[in-house]
Symmetry: C2
Subunit: 322 residues, 2 copies
């Protein structure tokens, strides 16, 4: 990595983006955040740009011209691109597929166009475990098939991966693809913990949960995610595709609901819905193999359960001293 | 299939489309061809609409509004959609990815939007063996992974499949996905035979071939493709994904070059290039499993070699009587 160059972080005003930008700036990289602020994040940007190495431009990352202009305006040669911009509101994408098309896929297309023109070196892409679809009890490793995403979000992440793959064949020197499941930590903007905390703060005696609580999922702390991304950036290769996640099989929604309840409003009753699936596009069980990444020497610092407990603390704030 | 309804064939002015529309009309179906004519086909449309059951509207299939209007204008309730529209010029898509984005992926997106609104039943999608990428000597069956398309064309076909899969999860009653390699027959508009015939007609004593001629590919006759599509339409299921192709391992470019040469200009010299790969996005070897389809009772009527010989006859015309 050449420290005179400027790295772009698309979606840098989001939850993962903010954490990543802080880490990059802390290792003395120049960073240009490109974000449309469609899901907010002004407060995070204000904090981030207090570091003089961090720049911000509000652009639509589907628009390669606008991004090229932004890059010129901050005066720098393009280094690598960390492409995190996407629509993170999965149900919204189910209701209107154009949201995922534009914010999740066309941003990738725009980023690739920018990198083709500006001769960027490595594209680091935040993909998703949602590209896989349902495999039931079968462990999901990177080369599994068939890939049958059940949400538009997953479909547009897979579409992005496909386009990136073709770009590596043609003009892109290197691509890193990170496939990860639910990521938690602060500053939370969405997700199950965030929802449960908000629900319990609104209605202190009752927590309603979609589905019967038996859905089991793997959770990754944002710190572990970023450590994995930085680790992968040191590995050799032209195309690197890695599952990133905890090495356990996850925790149930019931565990999360009870842990949030115990922390936020211990006397609340938890009311479960019916069936294992929370919403269209939700995958009820999920076994995720991170063996490929562990074989390169990485391991997550926390289990799913430890991640959940830690994230609840970060979101709710420290436990009051009695 | 309800014969009062009208089936849409996107890309119906193209090579495969023309053959399909003729078959559908011959079985007394009403057909609406939607095609942007970006690759020509006016002559084929003029022929097809002489059948009163066949209608044509020139529209961009990425535009759901335009397609809905076209459907209303011919007066009919939507039956099924045969989605064949795509950019068939692979090198053009490598040069400008926006061509594949628009014509291969956004047409799928538009078709899905139309089907969501007009409550179409089954989407029959002409996907491609290009979604798989290179597997060398490994036989490619439908559930293989990882999917790593090396052309933008393949990437946008995979993107289309992903979006269709998410639609089946949400609102689409049924989808059939046909993955096929090179299809030949008349009226040829592109492809290796077409190119060789045209080159030899222009320069009768010499045929230049990209690559060293050792590339081996499977070839399917358009009649066999359409027979397979109609066969699949009779099978049960909500998501049907099938490789369609010959059951052999294909023929070499050298075989095709020599067969065309012998038929068109027997004294011509054949000049081969270097290396096994013809152009960016070309896959040098390819083993294609059609076992899943054969297990349902279908088999191709011709081998790759028989298909090539037959297609050359159809393109060149009958051998002169001596």
């Amino acid at each position: 990595m050449d420290s005179d160059k400027i790295d772009i972080v698309t979606g840098g005003a989001g939850f993962i983006g903010k954490n990543l930008v802080e880490r990059l700036a802390a290792s003395d990289r120049r960073v240009l955040i490109l974000d449309d602020l469609s899901r907010g994040g002004q407060d995070r940007v204000v904090t981030l740009v207090q570091d003089t190495r961090v720049h911000f431009r509000q652009v639509d990352c589907a628009d390669a011209d606008a991004m090229a202009e932004a890059l010129t305006s901050v005066g720098g040669e393009l280094g690598d691109v960390w492409h995190l911009a996407a629509n993170s509101d999965i149900p919204a994408g189910v209701a209107d597929p154009r949201i995922d098309l534009h914010r999740t896929f066309q941003t990738t297309f725009g980023v690739l166009e920018l990198m083709k023109r500006a001769k960027g070196h490595t594209l680091r892409f935040a993909s998703s475990s949602a590209i896989y679809g349902s495999f039931g009890d079968t462990a999901i490793f990177e080369d599994i098939g068939p890939l049958a995403p059940i949400s538009n979000y997953g479909a547009m992440k897979l579409a992005s991966e496909a386009q990136i793959n073709a770009a590596v064949e043609s003009y892109l020197p290197r691509a890193e693809v990170y496939r990860f499941p639910n990521v938690v930590g602060a500053p939370a903007t969405h997700g199950v913990i965030f929802d449960f905390v908000n629900k319990l703060r609104a209605t202190q005696d009752r927590l309603e949960v979609l589905g019967d609580g038996t859905q089991r999922k793997a959770y990754l702390h944002v710190d572990d995610l970023i450590a994995a991304m930085l680790h992968i950036s040191t590995l050799d290769g032209r195309r690197l595709t890695f599952n990133i996640g905890p090495s356990d099989e996850g925790v149930t929604v019931r565990f999360i609901a009870e842990t949030v309840r115990d922390r936020v409003s211990p006397k609340a009753a938890i009311a479960y819905g019916e069936g294992p699936r929370g919403w269209v596009g939700d995958v009820p069980t999920f076994r995720y193999s991170v063996q490929r990444l562990m074989d390169t020497g990485w391991k997550p610092s926390r289990s799913s359960a430890e991640t959940i407990v830690r994230a609840i603390e970060e979101i709710v704030g420290p436990e009051p001293q009695v």
